[in-house]
């Protein structure tokens, strides 16, 4: 089970000779809303060592997804410092972030976000093609077979079930062998059985590739499978701790 105790064990307290996969320092994000500025994140500090699986929990609207968007380089912080795999995001422009993402970050969304005009195989190959890999299609095929979709390679997203689409999304995310995989409630749109299969696959791939995993979930059981869990509340890390899985 998860034991999340406030500040009992800050993940950035133990210095490591190894560069952390994710390092957030006093990260603030303020957005302009119709009724004035809204403070989404109010000073988040977080360090995730390489290869760790980090679960992120918290109520809706607490800032979980925003934090993952910042780690992905899809959202700029208002204040603070973001480093991923040793790269300071502050030094990169939008295209620089895109290229960094291409080589280092995989993302899996609750709503899959596949390109509807491309087949499963093409969807998986896209990031590898952007990276200029000659073996993009061979690797894409291997990834699809690995997630059990060898027979669906030429299907369009519209022709696949929700579970199949999420498996394509997983294959796509792992295709470039990212250093960090970000998953935002990847089973939120799936039934229990299918969701379970996806989670098994996610962790299997994480183990296999030794990828750092940041997983947002409402499911405490699922969070418990991670090495560490942080709880976010009202834009702040409200607590964190190791799980039994990590012990």
């Amino acid at each position: 089970m998860v034991d999340v105790r406030k500040n009992t064990m800050s993940s950035n307290t133990s210095p490591s000779s190894v560069i952390p996969a994710v390092a957030l320092e006093d990260v603030h994000l303020t957005l302009d809303g119709p009724a004035g500025p809204v403070n989404i994140l109010r000073g988040v500090d977080l360090s995730v060592p390489q290869g760790m699986a980090l679960g992120v929990v918290g109520p809706s609207g607490s800032g979980k997804t925003t934090m993952i968007m910042i780690v992905a380089g899809l959202e700029r912080v208002s204040k603070g410092k973001v480093s991923v795999a040793g790269t300071d995001y502050g030094a990169l422009d939008e295209d620089g972030l895109a290229l960094f993402r291409r080589d280092n970050v995989g993302i899996v969304f609750q709503q899959f976000h596949l390109i509807p005009t491309m087949t499963a195989l093409e969807n998986v190959a896209v990031p590898m093609e952007f990276a200029g890999r000659k073996d993009a299609f061979d690797r894409a095929e291997a990834q699809l077979k690995r997630v059990g979709l060898g027979h669906r390679m030429d299907h369009y997203p519209g022709q696949l079930s929700g579970g199949e689409q999420q498996r394509v999304a997983l294959a796509r995310a792992f295709g470039v062998e990212p250093k960090i995989l970000l998953a935002d409630e990847p089973t939120g749109n799936l039934d229990g059985g299918t969701g379970q299969q996806i989670i098994e696959l996610l962790f299997e791939l994480h183990d296999h590739h030794k990828t750092t995993l940041v997983l947002i979930t409402h499911d405490m059981k699922l969070a418990a499978r991670c090495d560490r869990v942080v709880r976010i509340n009202d834009g702040l890390i409200a607590g964190e701790g190791l799980t039994k899985a990590a012990e």
Binding site: M69, D95, A98, A131
Partner: protein, 853 residues
Amino acid sequence: MAGLFDGSISIRFALRELRGGIKGFRIFLACLALGVAAIAGAGSLNDSVKAGIAADAQPLLGGDLQARMSERPINATEMSALTAAGRVSYQIQLRTMARAEEADGSVRQRALTELKAVDDAYPLYGTLQTEPQILVARILEQSNGTWGTAIDTSLANRMAVKVGDVINVGEARLQIRALIVKEPDRVVTFATAGPRVLVSTAAMADTQLMQQGSLVSHVYNIKVDQGGSAERLREQLTKNFPDTGWRMRGVNQAAQGVEAFLDNVTLFLTLVGMTALLTGGIGVANAVRAYMMSRINTIATLKCLGAPAEVIFRMYLVQMSILSVVGIGMGLVLGAIIPVIAGQALEGLLPVNAQFGVYPAPLFKALVFGVLTAAVFALWPLARARDIPPIALFRNMLAPARAWPRRRYMAALVVLASALAAYTIGTAEQPRYATFFVVGTAVALMLFALAAKGVMSLARKLSGGRGGAVAGQPTLRLALSNLYRPGAPTTSVVLSLGLGLSVLVSIALVQSNLNTRLNEGLPQDAPSMFFIDIQSTQVEQFEKLVRAVPGTNKVTTASMIRGRISKVKGVEVEKADIDPDSRWAVRGERGVSQASTLPENAKLVKGEWWPADYAGENLVSIDERVAEGMKLKIGDTLGLSILGREITAKVANTRDVRWQSGTMNFTLIYSPAALAGAPGMYIATVNSDVGVENAIENAVLEAMPNVTVVQVRDAVQMLKDVLGTLSVAVRITAAVALFAGALVLAGAIAAGHTRRIYESVVLKVLGATRGNVLSAFIFEYCLLGFATGAIAVGVGALASWAVVVHIMKLQWDMGYGLAIGVVVVCIGVTLLAGFAGTWRALGTKAAPLLRND
């Protein structure tokens, strides 16, 4: 479930849905309004001008009835028949040269003019407006031995003369006493050769222009006495004087040339309007389809809650009907206003006074076109939406389950489309051209649809995953896949933009071919000058005079007699079976010639030429194409009426006449003895070096003031000017169809806006830079623009080839510069429309779109 209340439920639900506003239907409304406005506007303009003609019919004709004779005036018996019926005004009309001379008698300026001599009764209706305004009799009377004249202002400007100056026409000196502001019975058309010189009939003797065989018309306008009827008079005259050979016109034919021209213009405008409406129809279909796709959840929910498919169909049918009424209404209002606004701009440019106002008939016609078009194009997507299954709520569906609507809707579609075609043909003034249009458009639409399918399948083949031509180029593959994905705008853009563009391409190509033929088409051996009205006694002197001018290369003279083809194989021409393409040859009088030897430039096709000393029975040589149109074979007979005398001749041979060679040609050439005794005159062509034309003209006209000259260069220039003016007007009009296409393009691209933003964001998440996304969009629009432009050029070129080769019988060249230009412009327009719709997609922040909602 279907019951009495279904209708009211459908209406209630439809109105409820429409509360959300009509924001998504701007293109729908614009497409319908534009097409309907174009058709209504063209019809209203036509009716306005025709109403103007009808209101001024008597002044325009010059009387209640007009009898026209060629070459000879009517005799005393015929004249007394006219005067018994009412008041008669006599006119003589001919083309001739006017001269302005210096004090020493040398000619300062010459101009080809239309001379009209009138008697004291002129005008029977209306008023001759002059500057200064003086009585006609005062203007034209002889004073101090000099006859008076009124001339067009344009002629006064060209010859640098003013009121009080003297000009010479033929052998007569005429003092300009006034400038013509408006002639009540003159309708200026493109066929008008020159400015007016108005004189008294009494002055004609002094001009000495009335020689035997001269190209002169004698016109008798009759103002029928009270209680009399012009129609009855016409019948009596035709019955009592069957051999006089006069051509009669009543008030309903007052401005025949203008009306025919107007009908052609209206037909063209209506067909362009139809093209715009059909193009707009594609926009309507797109808008309805996009709307129905956005309503999938609503439809599925309603079905889950127990709504039968028929109620769903009716509900959206009601919505589309309401929107159509709004769009068509907007078009009708616009169409009714167009002629009033255009009237202000056209004031003074139209040959007659138009009566601008609201004319219900053309508005009704446009209304029917609008309703049928909206129905044809909206039915398909509506019928498909009817079959959206309730399960759609729970699936991420890209399209309804059924690709084709049910059979009854297909049948309704066929009926509506046929009704649209039948209405187009049935309401056209020239059903033949309307039929060509309907068939041509159907073929063009099919070609476009096929071409679009081809483009899509090529794109699919090229982009095909691993090993495809674009493997490793995800942006290019994205661009290609956007061309063939389900719901891609390719077909609608190719159809709509392509249709408008191909109309423009075909018009531009026809015009450029005409221009090329005008510029280069005149062969080296084409003459530089034409002379008419040379008397037989002057021929020898004429040739001598011309040859004496250095730079003259060749002089060709031929006798010309005017006659009307009266019988074909013994059958009256009115009853003879003659192809429409050859009817021109029997309409009115033609110049015919006689020759003992085959003229140069002529090529015998069938039969043999008669011996040089032939003196046997009457033989005739005829233009091969006309012979074909009249179904004449060698040995058949042809009747020619010359001044009421009928000459029958056997067809001896047929010739291939190259009219575009510019050399002297005749449809009919008779054996020498056949036309003996018939009054005629000579015409001549002169080939000369460039720059000596004026010297030749001066030499001839100084000695023979009765001769009329036309310089080919001037005539060609005039033709070019007319064509230039026409082509600008035609292109502006055709641009309406293109505008409709651009509207559809904008609509199609706007419909994909959300999808593009989404794609752009997902690509960025996967590591695409803005440059990558931008190049994907550029590729897509370039490919779409290129494909559409190329197909439009192909179809437009095909249409122009058919017109130039088969209708105009001219050589056709492909305008490659134009083709490349059109493709480049098409790519530019598509890129522009694309970026206007998607630029925002590039800068869209990813995070808000990717959050779980």
